[in-house]
């Protein structure tokens, strides 16, 4: 068997055996299959691509073709023990809404985000004055799917705003073993290329408000609109 992706290996450590897991953006189902095999989880995937969905089905996984931006609203509150969002939060149109949805649907969320505060990123911007292209962010600005990049510090602030507790955090780099970190330390905002968070709620979640419009589509809750916040 080929080596397990470094973030998968870390997620495998975090997830309790026999848990109910929702993997958002599960691609070909590799992680879900791993979790099913190693931890006996009851898994459900959400994947947008036809190829990914077909691959998941062939692996015997439950997968729904859908979009993390649109299709989380209909999952019931606390239906899962874990919601996993691996390296795709920055590709969402509404990452703030998605993050709060993850912790409505599940008791804990496993979220990994590339850190735009990493020293390589800062250096590229400072020295060349151009959008950085790094190992974690390899595409040029005009083709990158990453439309909502943040730094480690930004992400921690968002967690605070949404009243989420950071239960664990690890720094990830390709080919290296994960390193547990304190994401509030300024140095980690320079050092961590990608950070993996285990999050939970400080307070009980509100049940899903699912008003339905004339066309049968669930409408977004009001808090979904982009909110301008004073930067700290």
């Amino acid at each position: 068997m080929s080596a397990i992706r470094e973030d998968f290996a870390e997620i495998l450590k975090l997830v309790r055996p026999n848990a109910r897991v929702l993997d958002i953006g599960c691609e070909d189902g590799e992680l879900l299959e791993l979790l099913t095999r190693e931890k006996g989880v009851d898994g459900q995937g959400l994947e947008i691509s036809n190829e990914g969905v077909a691959a998941c089905l062939a692996r015997g996984l439950a997968v729904v073709q859908g979009d993390g931006d649109r299709d989380l609203d209909h999952f019931p509150t606390r239906a899962f023990d874990y919601a996993i969002l691996s390296k795709t939060l920055q590709q969402m149109r509404e990452p703030r809404h998605v993050l709060s949805e993850l912790l409505r649907i599940a008791d804990q969320a496993v979220v990994s985000v590339p850190n735009f505060g990493h020293w390589k990123v800062r250096w590229a911007l400072l020295s060349q004055g151009r959008m950085p292209e790094t190992g974690a962010l390899p595409e040029p600005w005009w083709s990158t799917p990453n439309i909502h990049l943040c730094t480690l510090r930004d992400f921690v602030f968002l967690c605070d705003e949404l009243e989420l507790r950071i239960d664990a955090c690890a720094s990830l780099a390709e080919g290296k073993e994960a390193r547990p970190i304190d994401p509030r330390r300024a140095i980690e905002n320079w050092r961590a290329e990608t950070a993996l968070f285990l999050l939970s709620r400080k307070a009980e979640p509100q049940p899903a408000a699912a008003p339905v419009n004339l066309f049968g589509e669930a409408e977004r809750p009001a808090g979904d609109a982009p909110v301008r916040r004073k930067r700290r």
Binding site: N50, V53, A54
Partner: protein, 385 residues
């Protein structure tokens, strides 16, 4: 398509007409009952010793029990021959496959053309109005009579998909998995509207005789053909019609009259004319009515998820086609939402095709792969070899 023998034909292992005694009536949603009840069915493959490999395939509006064997009237391969056979997603070497003719149908199950034992004449409009749930209740009686406690899968497309969902709602304990293809949890206003056009066409035919045409020795063929023509358009996508026919003419030049100048007209006329040979007009009325009455959410207090709360152990696979405008993808998504809301494990895929609603019985590699993948995984979970 050539009329060669389907490859599953050699695997046909049984069938005929199951006749329930008059003291075992089929109770109907309308409050009435059908007794004695007859169900025409066919089986392919063999039931294993543990009785864990039975699959029920439910047919669409104008389908029947001739799933994968030559149709006795048309001589054509069974309607799902492409998906049933050795090495195919439904494999008679592994599965015990059962297909029935729905009640209200005209291929052997009790329907409006059946002789009413009280009068000695065909029921006609004296036949009670039936529902999708009634069809499923009848199937459940047959499954029980065949000695099967749990179905490995119930599979259906279009109206068959609605039956599959109804199975999950009414008999979740008898199901291991459920496949719903190109269907919906309720009939939309547009669906009802198209059906009403078809019914009006039949009833406007003077040979319909108020439903008593069999007694009069005639058949409302023109009305039924028009109903089929209108419905057939809804089974195809605009792109498929355009690709197949465009504005191509039947002959050189226009007729400057009302002959079938365009190939698409000729095609539809042929569809209508050949349909009347194999279908009964009153069955068409009754089955379209059953479809129009179908609203699984309404049966459960207006909350579709409530229909599936008993089915948390059933594994679902919901499939839609991107170009299906009869039961478009959002309808399937509503089903998936409700399944997720009920806490059921569901898979859903929208299959990209321009073949429209009818894609479910056409050669569609993505459908074949998806169906195979899902059923294979369920077979492993069920311990089938």
């Amino acid at each position: 398509m050539t009329a060669q023998a389907p490859i599953a034909a050699g695997y046909e292992t049984g069938g005929g007409t199951w006749r329930f005694p008059a003291n075992r009536p089929l109770r109907l949603d309308s409050g009435g009952a059908i007794a004695p009840l007859e169900i025409a069915y066919k089986t392919y493959g063999a039931l294993n010793a543990a009785k864990t490999n039975a699959v029920l395939v439910c047919h669409a509006l104008t389908g029947d029990q001739h799933l994968a064997s030559t149709h006795p009237v048309t001589g054509k391969p069974g309607w799902w021959s492409l998906y049933v056979g050795p090495g195919r997603p439904l494999d008679p070497e592994r599965h015990f496959i059962i297909s029935t003719n729905v009640i209200g149908g005209c291929m052997g199950s009790t329907g409006p053309a059946t002789t009413d034992p009280k009068t000695g004449e065909a029921f006609g409009l004296k036949f009670p109005v039936i529902t999708i749930a009634d069809m499923v209740r009848a199937q459940a009686m047959l499954i029980e009579a065949l000695g099967i406690e749990t179905l490995f899968a119930v599979v259906g497309g279009s109206m068959g998909g609605m039956q599959a969902l109804q199975w999950a709602a009414d008999y979740p304990e008898k199901l291991f998995s459920c496949v719903c293809i190109a269907a919906a949890a309720r009939h939309s206003a547009q669906n009802i509207a198209f059906h009403e056009v078809g019914r009006q066409a039949i009833m406007a035919d003077p040979n319909w005789c108020g439903g008593a045409y069999l007694k009069a020795g005639v058949r409302p063929e023109k009305g039924l053909a028009v109903a089929r023509m209108a419905a057939h358009i809804t089974y195809l996508s605009e792109a498929a019609l355009q690709r197949k026919f465009g504005r191509e003419l039947q002959r050189d030049g226009l007729s400057w009259g009302f002959d079938a100048d365009f190939q698409v007209e000729s095609y539809l006329r042929h569809q209508g004319a050949s349909f009347v040979d194999r279908f009964d007009a009153n069955s068409y009325l009754y089955i379209t009515r059953a479809l129009d009455y179908f609203d699984l959410g309404a049966q459960h207090g207006g909350v579709l998820a409530e229909a599936f709360v008993g089915a948390r152990k059933v594994k679902f696979c919901v499939l839609s086609f991107s170009s299906d405008w009869l039961y478009p993808t959002p309808e399937s998504r509503d089903v998936v939402r409700a399944l997720n809301g009920a806490g059921c494990r569901a898979s859903f895929a929208e299959i990209q095709t321009d073949k429209g609603h009818d894609a479910f019985f056409l050669d569609e590699p993505l459908l074949e792969q998806t169906l195979r993948g899902f059923l294979e995984a369920q077979a492993q979970a069920r311990g089938l070899t």
